[in-house]
Each structure stands twice: as structure tokens, then as C-alpha cells.
């Protein structure tokens, strides 16, 4: 019954969505009879998808094995949290979550958007409905989450143990909020193109939505990176895996959009470019979803193996991106030229930011799609970190340099020499850091050396906008920019320290042996069997001592799950103020020794602390924007 109710809710939602599209189209053309129902429909449609999604969660929590999806991905012996999270730990469930968030985002626009001109708002809601309709069709025709299984099995097949982690409960929803949040920016752009309303008012209305999506993307990527770091046991935090790139590309586009929308909102510049970026950002979200969910990549994220689904998603991708670009092409001529600015000005700095972000986006896109395209013609190639580090590293470092100088520039026109004077302290700090690192670590790689130096310079420069200001009266969005830029410096410092100063020990040790790694003496005290709700494991006990201090206990495990039967390695990590001790238990060698892999990773935690700061900065800016509808010009920092 519950499954059927869920399916019915989905069909109803799809029907309402079609009605929303129709009513919006009529309203935009001037036939206002149906206009009054557009907002209520958007809200009702969101309620129906949320109902369907809640019902699916209920089925998973109750482990209703007569539903195919539950039987394939759930298991009655799993802890409650993982039965709950298993709802979106599979293809159909995650697509239903996608549609739900799409619906809820549309409802939020219908309920809370007050700044946008009414016709543009209707066109925006129409755009949102057009996107949702395609994904409803995908759910109903190619990935029905409520399909029944007859006869019902006695036990479910369980969830991939790599996904049985508290992070899974939060990582996909946050990332999806970001992905799908960008759909709102896309719909805004479509709406403004349709009604020829591209201007500062439109940009001010769009900005909070972009900010919100961007915050969620930042959190999702940061959390995903930490998850890969501690769950995979490989000691790395970013692998340039296509699945990771799929989340990075929308973030890069959204970051560019966030900055260009500010130019449009405060200075009325970059009109066509901002609209283009809004289209590109959501296109990247859809490409990401396609890559991850079509089954074209095999990874822990790829659930679909049915090739029809891949083609369906690809078709949706082409329709949406194609028609948005066509609309852009047809209407870009009607977008009037915005106001002008000088080559030395805040606007020019933001243009440089946008160019560099776009260049990085292009590099990542090529590296991600090129192997897939080649594979279609029969050539197999893999593109890994060496390519991405080499090709994306240089523009990224340049971007950091621009980021340090940008907020110190004035809008519209600035004096080059005055700028140099303002940037000088940060540049001096960067040079001192460069020299110090080069003296103390002469073998450091160029990329890391520049990374640390630029991080030091950026950290100082990012605080400069607060210089000589009354901190209590400084607007929240200025604080937001400062904190977010500081976060980039912190994160960059962490990345550079980790890649150049990590100490690694890979040994086969007997119980009782002591291994030295970084500042720690690690004694291998014991190996014992242990067990959990749905796994058993071998657990090593390691006593780590630093100097004459007390012993820390670390207990890495090699786990074996039985539903489905899988072996994973559970790392044990100790976080100190200046880094992390990261330990992995390997296999037993023939002569009784155990493989142990130990890392000392100085300041690695800064990477995620920086990510958190970036997200917090975004949140401050968002609150600041929402509290003050119309910022005064000279204080319009983002």
C-alpha cells in the first residue's frame, strides 16, 4: 500500500508539474487567468514529492522487502541510521531525492521570492517546472523507486559497507542541495532571458539562491573529501576521480557565478556573462549527475547498470543544456550592454577571477570527459593526478594571487600605484614565507612552495578589508568575504603542507615492535578479533608516544561485512594540533608479521578547516544579504 501511495504521489506531482509549466507559459505570454495558481501548484508539487520521498524512507526503515529497491539495498540487521541513509544510497532513491529537492527549491522560490518582477518570477517557475518534468519522467519511466518484488525475499542484500558510515547520511543530501540549488539560478537565467529582464534587480534576487547552493556544495565537497580520506585508507584527500570532479565542476562554476552576480548586482556589469554562467553552473550539475548516476563510471557512487538509464539522462542533458544555450543565443542580443569599468578596478579583478575559474573548469572538464569520449571510440586511457595537478595548479595559484589583490581594489576605477601600495604588505609576507620555506625545506616541490607562500600572503590580504574599520559596524557580507577568502588560504596551506611534509612508513611488523614515524614512536601492542552489528574484524592496538608524553591508543581494523560480503579497512586517526597520525592495518604476512601503514600528516586538518571556513563565510554573506535587502554601494563587498 505504502509503495503504491508513493508512486501515486509521484504521478500526481508530475501532472501538477506539467500544469505549472503550462500556466507559467500562458502567464508569461500575458494570459493571466492561470497565473494565480502557479505559486500554489509549485508548493503542492513540492509537498507531493516530499511525501513520496518520506514514504520511501519509511519503507527502508521498516525494511519492506516486497519492494524491489528495499530488497536490493536494505538489510534488517543494519543499524537504524543506515537503514535510513540507505534510502539515498542507491540509484532510484537518490534520483527521487534529486526530484524532491528540485520541487522544494521551486516551492521556496514561489513562497519567498519577493524581489523579482512578477512576469520574470512566473518564467522562472516555468523553467523550474520544465527541469522537474524531465526528471519526473526519468523516475517514472526508467527508475521507479517503488517497483514491487514478488515473491518477497526473506532478507535484503544490504548496503555497500563503504557507504555504511555516518558521513553517508549527510554527504549526498548536502551535495544534492547544492547541485539542485543551482537549478534555481538556471531557472532565474531562463526567466530573465524570456522576459528580457537581465539587470541589477534580477541579479540581486538571484544572488541569495546562488550563495545558498554554493554553501551546500562547499560543505558537500569538504565532507566528501574527508570521507574519502578516512574511509578509503589510502591517506589521500583528493584523487581527481571523475566522481570527485563531478562535484568540483559545479562548484567552480558556482564560485565564478557568485562573483559575477555581484558585479551585476552592484555595478550593472557582466550581464550576458552572468546569465551564461548560471546556465553553465547547472549544466555542470547535470553533467555531474549524468557521470555519477548513469553507470558510465564504475565507482562506489555508480548504482545504475541499465544502459537505458544512461541514454535517458544523456538525452535530458542535451535537451536542457541545448535549449538553454539556444535561448541564450537567441536573446543575448537583447541584453543591453552594462556599465563600463577600467582595467584597474574591482570589476576587472572579478573578471580575472571568472576567467581563471573558467579555465580551471575547462581543464577539469577536459580531463574528466576526454577518457570517456575516447572510450566510446575504443581507446582506453586514464587521466590522473599528474595531469590535473599540472594543468589546474598554475591557474589555481594565479587565482589565489588575484584573490589577495581583488578585494583591495576600488570599484569602477583605481590607481595602479595606490593598488601596489595596498598589496605590498601581503606581497612582502608571501616573499618572506617563500624564503623561509625554501631555506628550511630546500627539496620542496615548486607547487607546494608557491602554495605556502601564496597562502601566507592571502591570509594577510584577506584580512585587509577589515583594516581600520569599525568591526562592529562592518556588514556581515564583508565578514563573509573575509572569512571565505581566509578559508581558501587555510585550506591551501593544509594542502601544501600535506603534500610536501608527510612522513610515511610501510612495514611488516611483529607484535611488540616499535615503529618511528614523524614525531611519534608507535608500539604495535596487539592484534585481536572484534565484531559489530553486521561485521567482524581484526583490530590492531597501537600505542603512539610523542616525546615523553602519555601513550595514545589507535585501533585500526580490517573489517569483513557479511551483508553483502565485503572487506574494508577502517583507519584509526589521531588528531593533534599540528597534524594527524593516520594508521592502517594491512594483511598478515606468511611468517606471522602484520602489514602496517603509518602516516604523519602535518597540518592536514587545515584542508577541511579551510573548507569549513569557506562555507561559514558563505553563510555570513547569505545572512547579511537577507537581512539587508538593498546594500549601499560602497559597502557592497561580497
Amino acid at each position: 500500500m505504502i509503495a503504491e501511495a508513493g508512486l501515486a504521489a509521484l504521478w500526481l506531482g508530475a501532472a501538477l508539474c506539467a500544469l505549472q509549466l503550462l500556466a507559467s507559459a500562458l502567464a508569461v505570454r500575458g494570459q493571466a487567468e492561470l497565473a494565480a495558481i502557479i505559486r500554489p501548484i509549485a508548493v503542492a508539487q513540492a509537498a507531493l514529492t516530499a511525501l513520496a520521498f518520506s514514504l520511501l524512507i519509511w519503507l527502508f526503515v521498516r525494511v519492506d522487502l516486497s519492494v524491489l529497491l528495499v530488497a536490493q539495498n536494505d538489510h534488517s540487521e543494519k543499524p537504524l541510521l543506515y537503514r535510513f541513509a540507505a534510502t539515498w544510497g542507491n540509484h532510484e532513491g537518490s534520483m527521487l531525492m534529486w526530484v524532491t529537492i528540485l520541487g522544494v527549491a521551486g516551492a521556496a522560490v514561489a513562497l519567498f521570492e519577493r524581489k523579482l518582477e512578477t512576469r520574470t518570477l512566473f518564467a522562472t517557475l516555468g523553467g523550474q517546472a520544465a527541469i522537474a518534468l524531465g526528471f519526473y519522467a526519468f523516475l517514472l519511466f526508467a527508475s521507479n523507486p517503488f517497483a514491487r518484488l514478488d515473491p518477497a525475499p526473506v532478507e535484503g542484500q544490504g548496503l555497500n559497507p563503504l557507504l555504511q558510515d555516518p558521513g553517508l547520511a549527510f554527504h549526498p543530501p548536502t551535495l544534492y542541495l547544492g547541485y539542485v540549488g543551482l537549478s534555481v539560478a538556471f531557472s532565474f537565467a531562463i526567466g530573465a532571458l524570456v522576459t528580457r529582464d537581465v539587470g541589477p534587480a534580477f541579479a540581486r534576487a538571484m544572488r541569495p539562491w546562488v550563495l545558498a547552493a554554493w554553501i551546500f556544495l562547499t560543505i558537500g565537497i569538504t565532507a566528501g573529501s574527508y570521507w574519502a580520506y578516512y574511509e578509503l585508507g589510502w591517506g589521500g584527500w583528493w584523487f581527481w576521480d571523475p566522481v570527485e570532479n563531478a562535484s568540483l565542476m559545479p562548484w567552480l562554476a558556482a564560485t565564478a557565478l557568485l562573483h559575477s552576480v555581484t558585479v551585476l548586482a552592484t555595478r550593472d556589469g557582466l550581464r550576458a556573462w552572468t546569465v551564461m554562467l548560471a546556465v553553465v553552473a547547472f549544466s555542470m550539475s547535470m553533467i555531474g549527475t549524468f557521470l555519477v548516476r548513469s553507470g558510465i563510471l564504475t565507482s562506489v557512487h555508480a548504482f545504475a547498470v541499465d544502459p537505458r538509464r544512461g541514454s535517458f539522462l544523456l538525452a535530458l542533458l542535451f535537451i536542457y543544456i541545448g535549449s538553454a544555450l539556444a535561448l541564450f543565443g537567441a536573446r543575448v542580443g537583447t541584453v543591453r550592454e552594462g556599465s563600463r569599468f577600467d582595467l584597474v578596478s574591482r570589476e576587472a579583478g572579478l573578471v580575472a577571477n571568472n576567467l581563471l575559474l573558467t579555465a580551471i573548469l575547462g581543464v577539469v572538464l577536459v580531463g574528466t570527459l576526454y577518457p570517456l569520449i575516447l572510450e566510446a571510440i575504443g581507446v582506453k586511457i586514464s587521466i590522473g593526478p599528474p595531469y590535473f595537478n599540472a594543468a589546474a595548479g598554475a591557474p589555481a595559484l594565479l587565482l589565489v594571487a588575484i584573490m589577495a589583490a581583488g578585494p583591495l581594489l576600488r570599484w569602477r576605477r583605481d590607481d595602479f600605484r595606490a593598488v601596489l601600495r595596498r598589496v605590498a604588505p601581503a606581497a612582502i609576507v608571501a616573499l618572506i614565507a617563500l624564503a623561509a620555506v625554501k631555506i628550511f625545506a630546500p627539496t620542496i616541490s615548486l607547487l607546494s612552495l608557491l602554495g605556502i607562500a601564496l597562502a601566507a600572503g592571502l591570509a594577510l590580504a584577506s584580512l585587509a578589508p577589515l583594516w581600520k574599520r569599525n568591526l562592529a559596524r562592518t556588514p556581515l557580507f564583508t565578514w563573509g568575504m573575509v572569512v571565505a577568502h581566509l578559508g581558501v588560504a587555510v585550506s591551501l596551506a593544509g594542502m601544501a603542507c600535506d603534500s610536501s611534509f608527510t612522513a610515511e612508513k610501510l612495514v611488516a611488523a611483529r607484535v611488540g615492535e616499535t615503529i618511528a614515524v614523524g614525531p611519534y614512536q608507535v608500539r604495535f601492542a596487539a592484534v585481536e578479533p572484534t565484531f559489530g552489528a553486521n561485521w567482524q574484524a581484526l583490530q590492531a592496538t597501537l600505542e603512539a608516544r610523542r616525546g615523553g608524553g602519555d601513550a595514545l591508543l589507535l585501533q585500526p581494523q580490517a573489517r569483513a561485512y557479511w551483508a553483502p560480503p565485503t572487506e574494508t579497512s577502517e583507519t584509526a586517526i589521531h588528531t593533534a594540533l599540528d597534524g594527524q597520525l593516520y594508521t592502517v592495518l594491512g594483511k598478515q604476512v606468511g611468517d606471522g608479521r602484520w602489514q602496517l601503514r603509518l602516516w604523519w600528516k602535518p597540518f592536514v586538518t587545515l584542508i577541511w578547516a579551510g573548507g569549513a571556513l569557506i562555507a561559514i563565510g558563505g553563510a555570513l554573506a547569505l545572512v547579511g544579504r537577507l537581512r539587508r535587502g538593498r546594500p549601499r554601494r560602497q559597502e557592497a563587498w561580497i
Binding site: 577518457p371 586511457i381 586514464s382 599540472a390
Partner: protein, 146 residues
């Protein structure tokens, strides 16, 4: 600066940036892209020692040898027709075992041995590296577990 000149400068800067990024990407692609080889492909291709390569196949039954240091292993990867000796230092993935599929990133040394930097095995019972799945379809002598 005149508006027209300014627009032109901006456009030129944009074009220059895009060209620079494209050149950067192309040169990195040329040096860093690792082509996927099965042992048969590798035998035919006469690969340069040291070039980045991704090698995929089955771990041959009975070929896995542990070296005395306890963390280095030697084994043979086969696709049914040809085989390649592989050396790897590290902790192998949990599902790495004889008779199972694997994909390794690394390079050939001058003697024709493959030095693996990383090894990927099946993530779980449902997982098969995509490149390997294709190979398995081609050579019927190997049974795939799907």
C-alpha cells in the same frame, strides 16, 4: 581608455587566457595520460619504460609471492593470452586475490616488469573496473563473476 579599446583588450585577454589554459591542458595530457593496456595490448605495443600506464587483467593462480620485507609482492597478471610480471609495494586492497580482476597504475621497467604504484581490485562483489569488464567480454576463456 576608449570603451571600444577596453572591450577589445578584455576580449583579447580572455582569448589569451583560454589559449594558455588549452595549451597547458594539452601538454599535460600528452605527458600524463595513462593508456589502458591488457597484457596482450602491452605485448604488442612495445611501451617505453617509465611511461605512465594502466594495466588490467586477472591475477594468475599460484603466481602471488611475498618478498621478505613483508610489504612487497610479485605476481603475474594475465588476460588469458599474454601475461606480465608485476611488482607492488604497499597494502593490497581487501578484495585483491589470485584469480580475481585488478587494475594497476604504474610503469614498465627496462626488463619488462610492471612496477605498480596503486592497485585497484573489485570494490565489492558487484564491482568490476569498467575497462576490465570490457576485456572480460572479449576473452571468453576467463569467467566473469557477473
Amino acid at each position: 581608455m576608449k570603451p571600444k579599446t577596453q572591450r577589445l583588450t578584455l576580449a583579447l585577454l580572455a582569448v589569451a587566457a583560454i589559449i594558455a589554459a588549452a595549451l597547458l591542458a594539452l601538454s599535460a595530457l600528452k605527458d600524463q595520460a595513462a593508456y589502458f593496456y591488457t597484457p596482450s595490448d602491452a605485448a604488442k605495443a612495445h611501451l617505453q619504460p617509465g611511461a605512465a600506464v594502466r594495466l588490467g587483467g586477472m591475477v594468475e593462480q599460484g603466481s602471488l609471492k611475498h618478498l621478505p620485507d613483508g610489504v612487497t609482492i610479485n605476481f603475474i597478471v594475465t588476460d588469458g593470452a599474454e601475461s606480465v610480471p608485476v611488482r607492488f609495494k604497499g597494502i593490497v586492497p581487501a578484495l585483491f586475490r589470485e584469480g580475481s580482476g585488478m587494475v594497476a597504475d604504474g610503469r614498465f621497467d627496462a626488463s619488462g616488469q610492471f612496477l605498480a604504484d596503486t592497485i585497484l581490485a573489485k570494490h565489492d562483489e558487484r564491482y568490476m573496473p569498467p575497462q576490465l569488464a570490457g576485456t572480460m567480454h572479449k576473452s571468453k576463456s576467463l569467467k566473469s563473476d557477473r
